[in-house]
């Protein structure tokens, strides 16, 4: 058994005087996909933001490779990729410029690879069109192009299938499966009916969340 990348221990989060989850504990192991489930407003996005380190309003512990995450900010962020509701794409820039700006903060990637990644997400021919002229689905695809070239072992993906067409969803599912088989760890929320082998679930909602 390999060591968990990230462990949630007794997580509790309250929002507007309402307990979203309490006593939530689970481990994110390499080579697993965890699907966070629950009805709208049950705190899926909040949980993912907490896991990613964007939200600090929780109690409980988050352990990065067995140690409290606070001391390992740089290492944690280097090894984690987060895609949120808002895709992080600037409408005024082209897909190439957007991807370049996002990757420049993480690791050096030659232009050719970025170009191919955009082709790989079905944006061939749109690489130099300003993103505001693209559809919502195409803009999401710009963000998804990151997944094709990402080497971070932990992915945290919020509503990743939103606005993507059927072929795109199929391709993305295959990417996730392949990723997990190669030892990547993935946490997703989605309303899409995702069925992958070796998928674990963390269910939120109804006051007491319990995961495994």
């Amino acid at each position: 058994m390999s060591e968990p990348l990230l462990q949630a221990v007794n997580l509790e989060c309250e929002r507007d005087d309402r307990v979203l989850f309490r006593g939530l504990s689970f481990s994110i192991l390499p080579g697993t996909l965890i699907r966070v489930e629950g009805p709208n407003g049950s705190g899926k996005t909040t949980l993912l933001r907490i896991l990613a380190g964007l939200n600090d309003s929780y109690s409980g512990d988050l352990l990065w490779r067995g140690k409290n995450r606070h001391g390992f900010r740089e290492e944690f962020l280097r090894n984690m990729l987060y895609l949120g509701h808002r895709p992080g794409i600037k409408p005024l820039l082209t897909p190439m410029e957007n991807l370049r700006a996002l990757m420049d903060g993480r690791r050096p990637v030659p232009d050719k690879i970025l170009w191919q990644a955009l082709e790989g997400t079905g944006l061939g021919g749109f690489q130099t069109v300003p993103c505001r002229n693209l559809s919502a689905g195409q803009q999401r695809r710009v963000a998804l192009a990151r997944l094709l070239i990402a080497d971070e072992p932990l992915w945290i993906l919020d509503e990743v299938f939103t606005a993507i067409d059927i072929q795109g969803v199929g391709a993305l599912e295959r990417l996730l499966v392949e990723r997990v088989e190669n030892g990547g760890a993935i946490v997703v929320t989605t309303h899409h009916d995702l069925r992958l082998p070796s998928m674990q679930r963390v269910t939120l909602g109804g006051g007491d969340g319990h995961g495994y």
């Binding site: 058994m1 390999s2 192991l29 390499p30 080579g31 990613a52 380190g53 964007l54 939200n55 600090d56 309003s57 900010r73 740089e74 290492e75 962020l77 280097r78 090894n79 984690m80 987060y82 949120g84 509701h85 808002r86 895709p87 992080g88 794409i89 600037k90 409408p91 005024l92 820039l93 410029e97 370049r100 700006a101 996002l102 420049d104 903060g105 993480r106 690791r107 050096p108 300003p130 080497d151 971070e152 072992p153 990723r179 088989e181 190669n182 030892g183 990547g184």
Partner: protein
Amino acid sequence: MATEPVIGLRSPDLSVGTVTAMKAVFVRDLKTAFRQPQDLLNPLLFFVMVVTLFPLGVSPEVSFLQQAGSGILWVAALLSVLLSLDHLYRHDFDDGTLEQLVLQPQPLFLLVLAKSLAHWVLTGLPLVLLTPVLGIMVHMEGNSVVVLCLTLLIGTPVLSLIGSIGAALTLGLRSAGVLLSLLIIPLYIPVLIFGTGTVTAAAEGAPVEAQLALMGAFLVLALTLAPFASAAALRISLSNS
């Protein structure tokens, strides 16, 4: 696990250095701004309008303008920087690039510093470049114009840096404008007083080295402390969103 993981942890050597990451943030901000020139021209136009309207509204007399010129220019510059502050993080917040910025492995305060510098290059620096023309327009003397430009050159980065704290703090609020001004104006007042004081002293022929050094101290203080405060404020704003 049946198989040994193929995807391992990333080695630190593969990461991007802080300076490269800062440059990337800076370049992206500049690029985005030049694609939307009206946001860039707005504060500049405001600056020019205030300075041109003042003589029409109050008095076009040379003696009055000579005396009040530095004050008018400084106040106009200060307000036009204030006007542009709301955009500093707002667009990034709305499209999600701010989240990605906070999640970059480099120290956040340095990335914030890069953003503040980009803001200054886009707003403060053009104001400084316009100042000689407007200074002559309000009948200021050559020497005073030079000193005025110097004080603005030192002072406007301070305005951007302090303003960045306020912009970051009010990010999550819907009507941030008023609160932003209330938070920031008190912190701008010392810069304004010393800025105009230096020009007045220069006009009277007094030495201004001491005042300029003091303004330099403001700048150093803002450069070293404001990015930390902005970074912390950004974290809080994102945490509550």
